[in-house]
């Protein structure tokens, strides 16, 4: 048992761990979540029981989980990393074959008391497994071609299983956070330059092929791209969402329309207003000041997490913190870019704010891991 690992002897034991928790991070998380409760109360038209109340309950449960994870030694989490990864793969397989279909995609396993979404669990499990892999791999070998292929396989296997659900947003998050762990582990820049060039090349090829005899995508897929680039082409479909969300954001102005006063949100022009598009309500009602404030809170979370990663002398711990922080980053950056019309609508929630249980519990569990790595870091 690595509880007796000599390097851990200097780390705090028992209740004294409380003093070693990264408290600024905890307070920032609570601040963001409170912002979320306010918005959920507002979009329900002043009805607390509709979304805000269940969200508060879930958040409280999530906080308990976070502290439990934080107090558990990181060596334990290191041990179960592989198990978590393969367990996640099995769950993804189960969901593929037996999952419930909701919102046109197969994502859920109904466990009666909670709707388990294995792709959410996989986001953390993948980071854990990759951190373990690079912890095991001698640093000088990380850029060897063979040792680059292994993590690529580890990333693409779950990513492909999520894409067929179909859940493009989560797949992108998986690939991106996996890539971040590889990047932090020190894989040569050339691989990343090559990967980015490949993506750019593929996108160019897709556009060039349009109308040509070797057209790569179906016409309806091109249409979706067109709508993303110019939402006014489809004011009733996806374009409608983007147009409406931009109107909401823009009309918020500097100081906003006031709490519970946003006509776009309150008049139900906005789609998914309690989940993926909740940022528009915030931006409309609290204006540029409010949305910047949220962005600053997120930025602070990133700063504290990255500095925690830099301070951590354990390779596993540092990679884990960096990877989970990156997942969190991709969540809010993608969501905000989406509602501001900078990215296509892919269905990524605003972390800690959007209504929904699965994502929040997994994120808080992830922060628990960050805390665990931080509390139990080698001195």
């Amino acid at each position: 048992m690595s509880f007796l690992d000599p390097t851990l002897n200097q780390t705090p034991r028992g209740w004294r761990k409380v003093f070693y928790i990264n408290w600024p991070l905890v307070l920032l998380i609570i601040a963001v979540a409170c912002f979320g409760f306010l918005m959920l109360y507002s979009v329900a038209g002043g009805d607390i029981s509709r979304w805000a109340q269940p969200q508060i309950t879930r958040f409280s449960v999530g906080m308990v989980i976070m502290f439990m994870v934080a107090f558990t030694p990181i060596s334990f989490w290191r041990q179960v990393s592989l198990l978590a990864y393969f367990g996640g793969l099995v769950l993804l397989l189960i969901v593929l074959f037996f999952g419930s279909v909701g919102m046109g995609a197969q994502r859920w396993i109904d466990l009666k008391f909670i709707q388990l979404q294995p792709s959410e669990l996989m986001k953390i499990a993948l980071v854990m497994a990759l951190a373990l892999y690079y912890d095991w791999l001698p640093p000088e070998k990380v850029s060897h071609f063979g040792f680059v292929l292994i993590p690529l396989a580890m990333i693409s296997l779950p990513a492909m299983m999520v894409v067929v659900q179909p859940d493009l947003g989560t797949a992108i998050l998986l690939v991106a956070s996996g890539g971040v762990v590889m990047f932090l582990a020190g894989v040569s820049y050339w691989y990343f330059i090559a990967a980015i060039s490949a993506v750019v090349g593929a996108v160019t090829a897709v556009f060039m092929s349009r109308g040509a005899s070797w057209q790569l995508l179906n016409n309806y897929q091109y249409k979706r791209i067109d709508v993303f680039l110019d939402p006014s082409l489809d004011p009733l479909g996806d374009g409608y969402h983007i147009t409406q969300s931009k109107i909401a954001l823009g009309s918020g102005g500097l100081s906003g329309r006031g709490f519970m006063q946003g006509p776009q949100s309150q008049l139900s022009f906005l789609p998914e207003k309690q989940t993926d598009f909740i940022f528009t309500t915030l931006a409309e009602e609290f204006g540029y000041i409010g949305s910047t404030f949220l962005l600053i809170l997120y930025t602070l979370i990133m700063i504290f997490a990255i500095s925690a990663a830099m301070k951590n002398k354990s390779r596993f711990g540092a990679l884990l913190i960096g990877g989970i922080a990156a997942t969190f980053f991709f969540y809010f950056a993608l969501n905000m870019a989406m509602v501001m019309g900078l990215a296509p609508v892919v269905g990524v929630p605003l972390p800690l704010v959007s209504y929904g249980g699965s994502a929040m519990l997994v994120l808080l569990g992830g922060f628990g891991l960050i805390q665990s790595a931080h509390v139990h870091r080698p001195k």
């Binding site: 932090l184 020190g186 009733l236 102005g253 500097l254 930025t299 950056a333």
Partner: protein, 648 residues
């Protein structure tokens, strides 16, 4: 895995370096987001504020046009006409009372009517358009439109409204539509959004109700940008509504109209049916009512006149009236006896005017008796004693089974509400119903269509059609749905011996075509179109010994105690095409009241127009010439009078 975590200065610094780079990239992304936020919320804010304030996007429900109803020849029976109306949006009106008071200065709008409007508006949300006045005259509509800027929340619009050009002729079959009531809403588990939309008219009775789901169509959605005062700036997209299904009936308007006309003044019903296909050509029930009165908002006066009328105009007597069929059921008794082999058609039974069974004396309608009767004589003269005799040989169970084969005791498969199933009684039924033993007297009564036996005019027509064709035809009233013909299978055989059927049909022929047959006076004088029939006179109330002794003249009996007059028949005898049933409530005598009406309607069905005078017996020519001359022109597509402000 016991290997301790790798941890070296070099490694940590490398991770830190990479973390710095990563943080830098993330910082760039966050910077981009912040820049975009500033661009949208500060630099372009005024434009978006304008968009938000002035170009609000609304979804509007596009109500579909209700399906039309035609007769078999394409004559419209239910159509949609433009309806000028005023709608109000409460949240834009401010004080509803003030606005209505202003409106009352422009058009006639009494105080109590205004209170009604305020009450009815409570059912709808403040942002909903609620029609407050319908069927405005064009002048009033124009006046309100011109003054609309001074009337906040008031919008004038043109909707479509149901109109029944044939007025009373189809009041029962087609029914009518009207505003949705609570009771209507309760009928639906999950009401369609069309039903919930203000101003929608729902089918209340008849086909309008029963085929409502088909007729109403599917609502569309129009997404529009509206400005702050609700004016449409532009249409963003639409899903057009789907027009309701058109129905083409099997009914023939000329015949239906004639039947209604011929029965007018009586409380009566008539059904004409194609004996091979079961297509109902006419189903008339008098008195009718004007269904248009219901759409326009029925007046209390008209409503009271309908429900207080002794002749029950609201009831569809063809399908919901259950009458003792009287002697018209004798064909069934005769067929049951023949099929059971309990009577030889040539066997003669002596009628002395009565029989004694048990301790009771059962009378024939002819006091003096008919003398010796064989099977077809019994039908021709409608001799009760003949049936009293043979029914005892068959027994009630066999008679009930035969009656059921001819459609008694089961609702006809028609898409109409309040269908009666009639009644073909047997021992078990009486025991269940009254907890009493079946008596032989019950059998005797059933044999002549009295006592417990009941049938609707529709069932009598089905019975006659089955006799005429020897096939188990079922009635139908819808011929085409949206122009697509409803499938029509050849009806299965009744599985009766042709010889027996022919004997019964011969008996019916003799009723109408032999001197002293009960319907001889109402015969068709054209040999190729000869009608075979059967009269029936059904007692409404048991005749007591004193009344029999007093031998009251029928005219002296109060209307509601007089006998029902019935007639069933088919024609042409050689090659049957149509079956008919006529029931005239309290019409006193089948041969006197029902048979002539049936003959006239049947001739109309056979000729498709006014029949030549030669089709009538010569002695009736002067009378018939007069009758035909007095016949009004066919009721064709009467346009509605401009609805005035006289309506309450």
């Amino acid at each position: 895995m016991k290997r301790p975590s790798t941890s070296s200065r070099d490694n940590t610094s490398r991770i830190s370096r990479r973390a710095m780079v990563l943080g830098g990239i993330q910082g760039l992304v966050i910077g981009t987001l912040a820049w975009r936020m500033r661009d949208l919320q500060v630099n372009q804010s005024s434009e978006y504020r304008l968009l938000s304030d002035e170009n609000r996007i609304r979804d509007r429900l596009l109500l579909p046009e209700r399906g039309l109803i035609f007769d078999r020849n394409g004559q419209p029976l239910a159509e949609n006409l433009p309806n000028y109306r005023i709608v109000m949006i409460r949240e834009q009106a401010g004080d509803v009372r003030t606005v209505l008071a202003q409106l009352a200065r422009i058009i006639e709008l009494p105080v109590e009517r205004r209170e009604d409007i305020i009450r009815s508006m409570r059912r709808f949300g403040p942002s909903k358009k609620v029609p407050i006045i319908e069927h405005l005259s064009w002048e009033d509509f124009a006046r309100v439109s011109a003054n609309a800027p001074a009337l906040p929340g008031i919008i004038t619009e043109v909707g479509l409204n149901r109109y029944y050009p044939m007025q009373e002729d189809y009041s029962h079959v087609i029914g009518y539509v009207g505003p949705v009531s609570e009771a209507d809403l309760n009928r639906f588990e999950d009401p369609d959004q069309i039903i919930l939309s203000p101003g929608f008219q729902i089918g209340k009775t008849g086909l309008e109700r029963h085929k409502g789901a088909l007729l109403r169509g599917v609502a569309g959605i129009q997404r529009v940008e509206v400005n702050a005062v609700g004016r449409v700036m532009r249409e963003l997209g639409r899903n057009d509504s789907l027009k309701g299904t058109d129905l083409q009936l099997t009914l023939d308007h000329d015949l239906q109209h004639y039947a209604q006309y011929r029965l007018a003044g009586e409380s009566a019903a008539a059904v004409v049916m194609d004996v091979n296909s079961g297509d109902v050509r006419a189903m008339a029930s008098t008195p009718g009512f004007d269904p248009n009165q219901f759409i326009y908002g029925i007046t209390t006066k008209y409503w009271n006149s309908l429900i207080e009328n002794e002749y029950r105009p609201l009831a569809d007597k063809t399908i919901s009236g259950a009458y003792p069929p009287g002697s018209t059921v004798k064909m069934i008794t005769a067929l049951a006896a023949l099929e059971e082999g309990v009577v030889d058609p040539n066997e003669e039974i002596m009628c002395r005017g009565y029989v004694e069974v048990g301790n009771r004396r059962f009378h024939c309608w002819k006091r003096g008796g008919h003398g010796r009767m064989n099977l077809t004589d019994g039908l021709k003269n409608s001799c009760d004693v003949y049936y009293y005799e043979i029914c005892q040989r068959i027994g009630i169970e066999k008679m009930a089974l035969m009656a059921r084969r001819f459609g008694f005791g089961a609702k006809p498969p028609l898409p109409l509400p309040s269908l009666t199933s009639g009644l073909a009684p047997n021992k078990q039924w009486k025991f269940d119903r009254y907890n009493e033993e079946w008596r032989i007297g019950d059998t005797l009564n059933a044999a002549i269509g009295q006592g417990f036996v009941l049938a609707s005019p529709m069932q009598l027509a089905v019975m006659t059609a089955r006799l005429a064709s020897g096939r188990a035809v079922q009635p139908r009233i819808i011929q085409r749905i949206n122009g697509v013909a409803e499938p029509l299978a050849r009806a299965p055989s009744m599985q009766l011996s042709d010889k027996n059927l022919d004997l019964v049909k011969l008996g019916m022929f003799r009723v109408s075509n032999e001197n002293r047959g009960t319907a001889y006076k109402s015969r068709i004088n054209e040999p190729s179109l000869a009608m075979a029939g059967k009269t029936g006179t059904a007692q409404v109330k048991g005749i007591s010994a004193e009344e029999r002794a007093a031998d009251l003249d029928s005219d002296e009996v109060p209307w509601k105690y007089r006998d029902h007059a019935l007639f069933v028949g088919f024609a042409p005898y050689d090659n049957p095409r149509f079956a008919i049933s006529v029931v005239i409530e309290h019409g006193i005598s089948g041969s006197g009241a029902a048979a002539p009406v049936a003959r006239d309607i049947m001739l109309r069905a056979l000729y498709g127009t006014q029949p030549p005078i030669s089709a009538y017996p010569r002695n009736l020519w002067p009378q018939m010439r007069e009758q035909q001359a007095n016949e009004p022109p066919p009721n064709q597509n009467i346009q509605p009078a401009t609805p005035g402000s006289d309506r309450a």
